[in-house]
């Protein structure tokens, strides 16, 4: 377009709309763009916080799950196969292993003058995938010189820091306890058998004496009393121990697990609600912002309808005129979106510093989704402008 003409048209269109109205309209546009971008950014922050919380606090965790015992289900707290299948299907549950209990009496003893020791005991076995301190020689077959046993670290701590102190017995380090051999006495079906046992590892994960599954099957077959029984405990591997879905499933089926590990799920649920509510209000803001935006653009164009019409009557070429109008209307609006983005980015940066002092970590940069929203907003504004200009020129 001829520069003199474009200067004249600038003057013509600048003077034609009330500067008050234009200023208020532009302010409305700026506020709308800020609200819109803020709503998206807040959502991104929320989801980032929730996700990072999950990975930081939980990571992969192992939970032992069993039925809640009450007076009605004493002695039959078994888990139905369907429950185990459902548990496997939960999105948060990576795998489920059945914890096999021993259905026989067992004793542990050491025949030593320095360190006489005898106790009743019971064993469990779990699939090898679920054992944290899996030793190389974790297997057993009939005729082996000793049965490998994994002991909870907690037991050793109990012994060292309570029992040994009270009974004036020597404290044992993890290395020493793994050198000791002891006798395992198994009694059932009217017979008793003694085997050698050896501690091969200490587990922080499973709070019971663990033996290889092959040993457990063999011993249960030989010494168990009564018919075969359904499992009553399972161990699950989960990426998100505080998942509200998992928590709800356990509650619904009257199952329980380590409460300490799932305690956070209640807060998670509340936070999810809050995030949902801000999401909805963000959506409302979005609709409101788009409304303000399109009203502003319509106002901008229709406020100059008389001038546009007269220009056309005098012979202004429509294509040239609409290109000029778009070039006039769009850049200031785009600048408002850029200002809004810069403000939201500054706010995010400040918020990051403020929250970091309170040990909450969010990204100091605006999320890609916010940037994408700003781009989409610009595209939408361009289209609305073009439509409004086209409609005015064609009318």
């Amino acid at each position: 377009m001829v520069s003199e003409l474009s200067q004249l048209m600038h003057k013509l269109l600048r003077n034609s709309s009330g500067s008050w109205r234009a200023r208020i309209g532009t302010l409305g546009l700026l506020i709308a763009a800020i609200l819109l971008l803020l709503a998206v950014q807040i959502q991104s922050n929320f989801s980032q916080l929730l996700e990072s919380k999950t990975s930081r606090e939980a990571g992969t965790q192992y939970l032992v799950v069993n039925r809640q015992l009450n007076n009605d289900n004493l002695n039959k707290p078994t888990l139905a196969e369907e429950e185990i299948e459902e548990l496997k299907k939960l999105p948060e549950v990576t795998s489920v292993g059945i914890v096999q209990p021993a259905y026989f009496k067992a004793t542990l003893s050491i025949n030593s003058s320095q360190f006489p020791f005898q106790t009743e005991a019971s064993f469990e076995s779990v699939p090898t995938d679920f054992i944290d301190a899996l030793p190389a020689n974790w297997e057993w077959k009939e005729g082996d010189p000793f049965v490998p046993v994994i002991v909870p670290s907690l037991y050793l701590d109990l012994y060292n820091f309570q029992f040994a102190l009270g009974q004036q017995l020597p404290q044992l380090s993890p290395e020493i306890i793994q050198m000791l051999q002891f006798n395992i006495g198994i009694t059932g079906q009217g017979q008793t058998m003694y085997l050698k046992g050896k501690v091969v590892g200490l587990s922080d994960r499973i709070q019971s004496l663990i033996v290889p599954a092959s040993f457990m099957q063999w011993a249960n077959r030989r010494f168990a009393t009564g018919e075969s029984r359904k499992p009553s405990r399972v161990i699950i591997k989960t990426g998100d121990a505080s998942s509200p879905i998992l928590h709800q499933f356990l509650q619904k089926n009257q199952l329980q697990t380590d409460k300490e590990k799932t305690r956070f799920s209640q807060y998670r649920q509340i936070v999810n609600w809050i995030a949902g509510i801000t999401g909805i209000s963000g959506l409302l803001l979005l609709v409101f912002a788009l409304l303000v935006l399109s009203l502003f653009i319509q106002l901008n164009v229709t406020g100059r309808r008389d001038e546009i019409r007269l220009l056309l009557q005098l012979g202004a070429a429509p294509r040239q005129l609409s290109a000029f109008l778009l070039k006039k209307f769009f850049p200031p609006q785009a600048v408002m979106v850029v200002i809004a983005l810069v403000l939201v980015a500054a706010l995010q940066w400040g918020l990051q510093i403020w929250l970091a002092k309170r040990t909450v970590n969010i990204s100091p940069l605006v999320s890609p989704l916010t940037l994408l929203t700003a781009l989409l907003l610009l595209a939408a504004m361009w289209l609305i402008n073009r439509q409004a200009v086209k409609r005015t020129i064609d009318s």
Binding site: V2, L5, L8, S16, A317, P318
Partner: protein
């Protein structure tokens, strides 16, 4: 280029007896390029309507208009723009100046609208001939109607045209200023080899007309 009006009839006048008596409405009329045409009509006979038909501002008519290759009813918006900025130049009865722009700006706007914008500047000379040289930088809104009328004539002179259409162009001018305007229009129309269509309420001898019509 010739203007051909074939059985042109404004819809609002369709059933009125006065339209039948017109030399133009419902007739087949050809206005030859470069001719001076006078159309006289009493109020309400559709003078301004004809002007608006010719430049494509109104389309409520039967029959057809052909201005060279342009048909204002059917040509697209870009062609219509070319027609208005390069083929016909109009002094509207209601002037249609931008009130917020000065007379100079109103006129210059018109210079730059054609596909080949007009660069040479004899605006001052023409304004002097019209007696409005001191008003060039005054916003149109603050000029008197007679001054605005001369501003509108000035604007119509600066663009290229083959037909100059004048709708009661001297209604607010005194005789001296009217004669100045006539002289300028005559000169410019000759320079451009253009025809003139003057529409007015009464007969006159402002220009050496080739044809006179009653509307």
């Amino acid at each position: 280029m010739d203007i051909r009006l074939q059985h042109l009839m404004p819809r609002p006048l369709q059933d009125k007896p006065m339209a039948a008596a017109s030399d133009i409405w419902g007739k087949d009329v050809t206005l030859r390029a470069g001719q001076y045409i006078k159309i006289t009509a009493r109020s309400g006979r559709g003078k301004t309507t004809l002007v608006h038909f010719l430049c494509g501002l109104r389309q409520d008519y039967a029959g057809s208009i052909q201005i060279g290759t342009y048909n204002p009813l059917t040509c697209n918006l870009e062609d219509l723009a070319a027609l208005r900025s390069e083929v016909i130049s109009v002094v509207f009865q209601d002037l249609r100046l931008f009130p917020q722009l000065s007379i100079r700006e109103n006129t210059e706007l018109k210079k730059f609208l054609p596909r080949n914008p007009i660069r040479e500047n004899n605006l001052e000379d023409m304004a002097t001939q019209l007696g409005i040289e001191t008003l060039l930088d005054t916003p149109a809104a603050t000029c008197s109607y007679g001054e605005q009328q001369r501003g509108a004539i000035l604007r119509a002179m600066v663009q290229p045209f083959q037909w100059l259409i004048l709708d009661e162009p001297f209604s607010h001018l005194d005789n001296i200023n009217r004669d100045k305007a006539i002289a300028l229009i005559n000169t410019v129309a000759k320079e451009q080899n253009a025809g003139i269509i003057l529409l007015d309420l009464e007969p006159d001898n402002y220009f050496p007309y080739h044809h006179q019509f009653q509307l």
